[in-house]
């Protein structure tokens, strides 16, 4: 390997570790790596440095040195996001609370953002927060989003593979950790999860109809878009999916809302909305966090903390944005998720 080759390979190695290696270079990179011991050692040295740096900044002495970093990021932001929202309590209708108990899950957090925008827009509270939330709503309503679900243990936010379930449960809830949710507004979704036996189950809706592709047996299709919502992650809570037209104010009325600035030094580069359930509100998670890009308003993560445990399931759930690339036009139709010769049962 000449000096020029070495320099070239080194550039590719850095790009590989930073996730910027383009496909056209990948083949050459792998060939060099597999065929040249010097190249492999070059990458190995870099890999060890890369990992050591990561640990140095996240768990080493440097992890606590954050003041300068925070100050810089503050300067980057052109809006003051520190706004505590103290919404007036409105009358609570029992029926609406019961509705909320059943309907707090993925969509709930998204609905929260929309609801917040509505509240801010109609009450004239802090203009910057109102702007931020309006942008979140706009971002939610445009484009396709892919989220991965993580089951989280308690307030420690420790990830785990499956949720615990109460002893009185006759059978454990299906694991949701690792399930994927694909969203497209309005009201289109695809959920890919595994059932209690570990078999893949895909369900979804294109907004006009709903469908489920079980591991075995016929594909079932219903003209009712809400038909298979019970199969959604958290289906044991009977939560509907994203519906931007639902009643938004109820959710906002039941939570105290705080918008926080990013804190990159603490490992949180995004701004955050923290919604804490009011003491007199019932049902739903005690806390909802929405992490969003302060500039683009793209929702990057949603956490539902202290979920009701009466029916088992995880204590907390996180939705992490993993992709916002456009999905194919037919992605939300069942035909994209099973073989052509699969039997399809139309329900009435």
């Amino acid at each position: 390997m000449t000096d020029a080759d070495r320099a070239n390979f080194r550039a590719l190695a850095h790009a590989y570790l930073d996730g910027t290696l383009v496909d056209s270079d990948r083949v050459r990179f792998e060939q060099l790596l597999a065929s040249d011991d010097d190249a492999a050692r070059e990458l190995a040295r870099l890999v060890l440095l890369h990992d050591a740096l990561d640990r140095e900044f996240t768990s080493g002495v440097l992890a606590s040195q954050n003041a300068r970093f925070d100050a810089h990021l503050d300067a980057d932001l052109d809006t003051n996001l520190n706004t505590h929202v103290d919404q007036r309590q409105n009358g609570r209708a029992t029926k609406r609370r019961a509705w909320l108990q059943r309907r707090v899950f993925v969509a709930a957090t998204l609905l929260l953002a929309v609801g917040l925008a509505w509240i801010f827009a109609t009450t004239g509270r802090d203009a910057s927060a109102s702007d931020v939330l309006a942008r979140i709503v706009e971002a939610l309503r445009s484009g396709d989003r892919t989220y991965v679900l993580r089951a989280i243990e308690g307030d420690g936010r420790m990830r785990r593979r499956e949720a615990a379930f109460p002893l009185q449960e006759k059978r454990p809830p299906a694991p949701i950790d690792g399930a994927l949710v694909f969203l497209r507004n309005p009201a289109s979704f695809v959920l890919v999860r595994r059932d209690a036996e570990g078999h893949e189950v895909v369900s979804g809706s294109d907004g006009a109809s709903a469908w489920i592709v079980p591991a075995e047996g016929p594909v079932r299709v219903s003209s009712d878009p809400a038909r298979f919502r019970g199969a959604l992650p958290g289906g044991r809570l009977d939560i509907p999916f994203i519906d931007p037209h639902a009643d938004l104010s109820t959710l906002a009325r039941n939570y105290d809302l705080v918008v926080q600035k990013p804190a990159p030094a603490a490992g949180r580069p995004d701004a955050r909305i923290v919604a804490t359930r009011r003491p007199d509100a019932r049902g739903g998670p005690k806390e909802i966090e929405i992490d969003f890009d302060a500039k683009s308003a793209l929702v990057r993560a949603i956490r539902l903390v202290n979920l009701p445990q009466a029916q088992g399931g995880p204590r907390a759930i996180e939705f992490e944005l993993i992709d916002d690339a456009p999905l194919s036009d037919d992605f939300f139709q069942h035909t994209s998720h099973h073989a052509k010769d699969r039997a399809v049962l139309e329900e009435r």
Partner: protein, 176 residues
């Protein structure tokens, strides 16, 4: 603790930094690395009885880690490919051999890393903070700093090179 378990712990403690780096290189994701590392540690302890003590421990641990990475990929096979760093089999094997070959020596050198990072200043330190403290990719860092993504990538390459130079100087006794 029985002698076998004690030996397993000892071997794992020594091998863990290299295994961590290898898994991080194959996944490109901090959280996934830690999950896989945990699974690898458990597998190492559970299968330590099958380990041939006449052979080096690190290659054995790396092979287990590689299996755990493969398991994680299978479980997440529907994830968009660009979310995980992937290499072909031959490249993964070559990297494992190379990590094994240099791990001990590099581990001693990297003891100087903390001192060298403290010497980073200005934009270099800033970019390093964004990359490693906040875990941001070059594209996002570029957005925050108002730079071109390629500028950030080049800066990362340069600062890692500077850190290696610093480490080597200190290793040679000529502290900068």
């Amino acid at each position: 603790m029985d002698p076998s378990t004690r030996q397993a712990f000892t071997n794992w403690t020594q091998a863990q930094p290299a295994v961590s780096a290898y898994v991080f290189a194959l996944t490109g994701d901090r959280a996934l690395r830690d999950e896989i590392l945990q699974a690898t540690a458990l597998s190492v302890l559970e299968s330590f009885g099958t380990y041939d003590a006449s052979r080096p421990f690190l290659p054995w641990a790396l092979s287990i880690a590689r299996n755990e990475v493969a398991n994680a990929r299978r479980q997440a096979r529907r994830l968009p490919m660009h979310l995980s760093t992937t290499l072909g089999d031959a490249a993964e094997e070559a990297l494992a051999r190379a990590v094994d070959a240099i791990a001990r020596e590099e581990h001693e050198r990297l003891a100087h890393l903390g001192e060298c990072v403290k010497l980073l200043e200005g934009r270099a330190r800033e970019i390093c903070d964004y990359r490693y403290r906040a875990g941001l990719k070059p594209g996002r860092i570029a957005e925050l700093l108002g730079l071109a993504p390629n500028t950030v990538s080049k800066a990362l390459e340069r600062l890692r090179g500077d850190l290696r130079d610093c480490i080597e100087r200190r290793e040679a006794g000529g502290a900068a």
